[in-house]
């Protein structure tokens, strides 16, 4: 089992490292930096803090889309469940609940992360962006507009996670080739089969019509 006392500098198998491993859906996702980066201090702070918590509820403050929200959670509650079940922020979806599908993707300090694979208490002090904070029907983010234009959504259940992953991908790769898009977005899954539209949407939003 994870050794809770393992420090950030120790080569030991820490709980955080374990979560990090869980959070990666594929090699492509790892390359695109799907898990939150975070500094060693942040990691240490998070570990320190969660080690002192529980088992009962504790009150934390989450910074969601620029707003501070107080919420009571047990330490075991994931960020995804805190958002969806306690704060009624339901854009991020629960599908696999174990870091495979990307439907729960949010940004943590600007980096995409699987909210199902991160504890709510770990998210304290980090800047969280959910799909609700990326754009609105009245003011679409360019990738959202491109999703509509290229019909990159059918049932739409994978869409919020995909949109977040695409937005983060484009930030890191403003001029991707078609091949880079295909490799870089492997951390999200869609059942309806919208990948063709998504690929076009990402290339279009990047202004690289046609791609390489």
């Amino acid at each position: 089992m994870a050794d809770e006392k393992t420090g950030p500098d120790s080569p030991g198998f820490s709980r955080r490292g374990f979560l990090k491993g869980l959070g990666v859906g594929s090699a492509g996702a790892a390359a695109a930096g799907l898990m939150p980066g975070g500094t060693a201090q942040q990691a240490a702070a998070a570990e320190e803090k969660s080690a002192l918590l529980g088992p009962g509820e504790t009150s934390i403050t989450l910074n969601i889309n620029g707003e501070s929200k107080k919420v009571k959670v047990e330490p075991r509650v994931t960020l995804l469940d805190a958002l969806r079940n306690r704060l009624d922020v339901t854009g991020a979806k629960k599908v696999c609940d174990r870091g495979t599908c990307g439907a729960c993707t949010v940004l943590v300090d600007g980096q995409p992360a699987y909210a199902c694979s991160m504890l709510a208490v770990e998210a304290e002090g980090r800047a969280l962006t959910t799909i609700e904070g990326l754009g609105s029907p009245e003011e679409l983010h360019p990738i959202q507009a491109a999703f509509i234009e290229h019909d990159a959504q059918q049932c739409g259940f994978c869409t919020p996670g995909f949109v977040m992953a695409c937005a983060a991908f484009l930030k890191e790769n403003p001029n991707p080739t078609r091949e880079e898009v295909r490799r870089g977005l492997g951390g999200n899954l869609c059942r309806c089969g919208t990948y063709a539209g998504i690929t076009e949407a990402v290339l279009d939003a990047a202004g690289v019509k046609g791609g390489a």
Binding site: K94, V95, C96, I148, C155, T159, A196
Partner: protein
């Protein structure tokens, strides 16, 4: 007077244009509320408890300890199963409801269930497990025909059972308020979702209100309220609180439906010209404990002169099958197309050529002929094709594979009410649902077209059982059903308005039309009034008229039809050292009659191709013979294709008078039928041997290459 027939192509304002789906912004910004997202004040979370055993007698289910946990408020057990047997692992026999999801997940383990284990059987690919008399069909004389054939080829083929794996799990939120039941389900069947629930929860149907505006995928698995829907309502009634019940991913994959497996041996006899002379097949598979309908075979080439097919059922202790996008067709298609391609290869012929030679035995020879030529052109068949006997150089082999498919797609029974208000606004109400097929957008297109207004001047209300009854969305029946009922309702409402306007314009009703935001004399368009002016004549009374789709009648009117053909060609690479199959490109050419929305029609075909790549390469419910359990009820090991896996996809929709004049035909199923067959044929073409069973995993490919498949 407006008539319900579709307007001539040159007069269409909206029909067939590439419109963005209307809920695109709501979905892509995360604002769409799915059943899973509905949170109600004071809501409880329910968890279903499934049997860990594939076969066992249930001695007792005791919820006392679970109910003693603070925060656990509801408990349900299946009274009917106590003293009786569970038939598959995961069978739901109890549930609890608690104040938080975490608590429910923890407390469910306090429910004490006592079982007496029994013998189970989960093997589905071995015909010796078959039960009952095979269903068989025999036409012509197969024995004699095989004796006459110039070439005979024989092979084994198969396709594993797969599951629907909807990204939104099955489930609902239910709430009792003022004596009525409110349900937000994830369903393909809004109008009839409550049927049967009234008995379980002892409320009249009229007191059960169903609302589903968005749903996260069904693919044939979400037609009923299911056991968990009933449990959710019972718990809501029992606790007096709203209850959310969504299946956990493992139960979702084990018990919420699957596509039955199919395995078979086929003997094909070709004459010296490559015409199919005999087709002799034996097929078997499992749909769980219940019935098993062998796949339709010979697939697409239904009219072969000498054909014999025997199908056997293998009962297993697995969850029951459900309709899975184009039930039976992908299986029948794979086994038939693979056997025909193998026969062509045995004769040293190109499979495309053999398919073309035999189109007279299909139900759509002209359509296929046209489509095959287009598909071949799109993929560059002439330059890339090679015979199976002439492999490409190097360790990565390349090949092409062809398949054809068919589907019905007749519109289902559907009712729609269209209201024209005195202020000029127009609204349709219809008890249909949008599964992601853009049904909402299509209904809006038909309504706007009929009343001659822009898209944003009309409103569509759907997704509630309070609205006129519309069929379940399955079998590609929705687009025909709702297009016809909306067209008829809107025409009826418009004619009532024209009657009011006619005296003002000084002409007979027959001479009027609604177009470009006006009511005008067809022969003299300057004699007109604006739509708003005309509606103003209604005073205070809106017009509401109903339209009803009765398939036979709408077909006679030319509004809808059935029977489409499509073809697909796959271009794959296979690494013969690792066994990995890569899709380079797939092309799909598809007919669906009159196209309502070009953009979302194409999306359906892309979606079919992608789902097809997934089941061709990855999907399989793996069962453990020793424990009787599914080994991969999760999304790591029940693998779906990712963006990287699907290759380049190209879609071509058939248009023009020959297709358009038939009216609207469903499109959801057809494009998912051929991918497995086309990819399997392409792999055989690439490596020179058939990999008999799907999914085409590296292990299966290497076994086939090593001669041990």
């Amino acid at each position: 007077m407006a008539n319900p027939q579709w307007p001539a192509v040159e007069k269409r304002q909206h029909l067939g244009k590439p419109y963005d789906r209307l809920d695109g912004a709501i979905k892509s910004t995360g604002r769409a509320k799915y059943a899973y997202d509905v949170n109600r004040p004071g809501m409880l979370w329910a968890r279903c408890i499934g049997s860990p055993h594939a076969a066992a007698k249930v001695v007792d289910i005791d919820g006392t300890d679970a109910l003693a946990v603070p925060g656990v408020e509801g408990f349900w057990r299946d009274e009917g199963v106590i003293g009786k047997e569970v038939e598959y692992a995961g069978q739901i026999i109890a549930a609890i409801a608690a104040t938080s999801e975490e608590l429910a997940a923890e407390a469910m383990h306090r429910v004490k269930i006592t079982y007496e284990k029994m013998e189970h059987q989960v093997v589905d690919n071995d015909i010796s497990f078959a039960k009952g008399r095979p269903a068989s069909r025999d036409e012509g004389d197969v024995e004699i025909a095989l004796g006459e054939a110039a070439t005979i080829s024989e092979g084994h083929y198969g396709i594993a059972a797969i599951t629907h794996c909807c990204l939104e799990a099955h489930g609902q939120v239910a709430e009792v308020r003022d004596g009525a039941m409110y349900i937000w389900p994830s369903t393909q069947n809004v109008s009839k979702y409550a049927d049967g629930l009234n008995e379980s929860v002892d409320s009249p149907l009229s007191d059960i209100h169903v609302d589903c505006q968005y749903m996260g995928g069904g693919f044939g698995s979400k037609f009923g309220h299911d056991k968990w829907g009933m449990i959710g309502c019972i718990l809501a009634k029992q606790t007096g609180k709203p209850v959310k019940i969504m299946l956990e991913r493992d139960l979702e994959l084990m018990v919420a439906g699957n596509r039955p497996s199919a395995f078979g041996t086929v003997k094909v006899g070709l004459d010296g010209e490559g015409k199919i002379h005999a087709f002799d097949a034996q097929v078997w598979g499992t749909g769980g404990g219940g019935g098993y309908r062998p796949p339709p075979m010979p697939y697409a080439f239904t009219k072969l002169p000498n054909q014999r097919v025997a199908g056997s059922r293998i009962p297993t202790n697995r969850g029951s099958q459900r309709a899975w996008r184009a039930p039976g067709h992908p299986q029948g298609c794979l086994i038939t197309m693979a056997a025909l391609a193998d026969a062509a290869a045995a004769m040293g012929m190109d499979e495309l050529e053999v398919f073309k030679k035999n189109l007279e035995y299909t139900e759509h020879p002209e359509t296929y002929a046209e489509e095959l030529d287009i598909a071949a052109e799109m993929i560059g068949y002439k330059d890339k094709a090679h015979l199976r006997s002439a492999l490409t150089d190097g360790p990565v082999k390349r090949g092409l594979g062809v398949s054809i498919h068919q589907w019905g797609g007749m519109g289902h029974p559907s009712e729609c009410d269209v209201t024209i208000h005195p202020d000029g606004s127009v609204e349709a109400k219809i008890g249909s649902q949008d599964l992601g097929t853009a049904t909402r957008t299509s209904i809006t297109i038909v309504l706007a077209e009929t009343v001659g207004l822009p898209m944003d001047a009309v409103k569509v209300k759907m997704g509630k059982n309070a609205y006129p009854v519309s069929g379940a969305s399955g079998g590609s029946t929705t687009i025909g059903g709702v297009s016809a009922s909306t067209r008829l309702a809107a025409t009826n409402a418009l004619n009532a308005l024209l009657e009011v306007a006619a005296p003002r314009l000084g002409v007979a009703v027959d001479a009027l039309e609604a177009a470009e935001g006006t009511i005008r004399e067809t022969a003299n368009p300057s004699n007109a009034m604006t739509w708003t002016e005309a509606c103003g004549l209604l005073g205070v009374s809106p017009i509401t008229k109903r339209g009803e789709n009765v398939a036979g009648e709408s077909q006679k009117m030319g509004l809808i039809d059935q029977g489409v053909g499509g073809v697909q060609i796959a271009d794959v690479s296979v690494d013969v050292e690792t066994g990995v199959v890569t899709i380079n490109e797939m092309v799909a050419v598809q007919d669906c009659g009159l196209i309502v929305n070009m953009k979302t029609a194409e999306s359906q075909v892309y979606g079919g191709l992608i789902m097809g790549v997934t089941y061709a390469l990855f999907e399989e419910c793996v069962y453990d013979a020793a424990t009787g359990r599914m080994l991969n009820p999760d999304m790591e090991f029940y693998r779906l294709a990712g963006l990287y896996d699907v290759g380049n996809l190209k879609v071509h929709m058939m248009t023009g008078p020959r297709y358009d004049s038939r009216g609207v035909i469903g499109l959801g199923e057809p494009p998912v039928i051929s991918p497995g067959a086309a990819i399997s044929n392409a792999v055989a073409n690439a490596i020179g041997v058939r990999v008999p069973e799907l999914p085409l995993t590296p292990e299966r490919v290497l076994n086939a290459l090593g001669g041990t498949a």
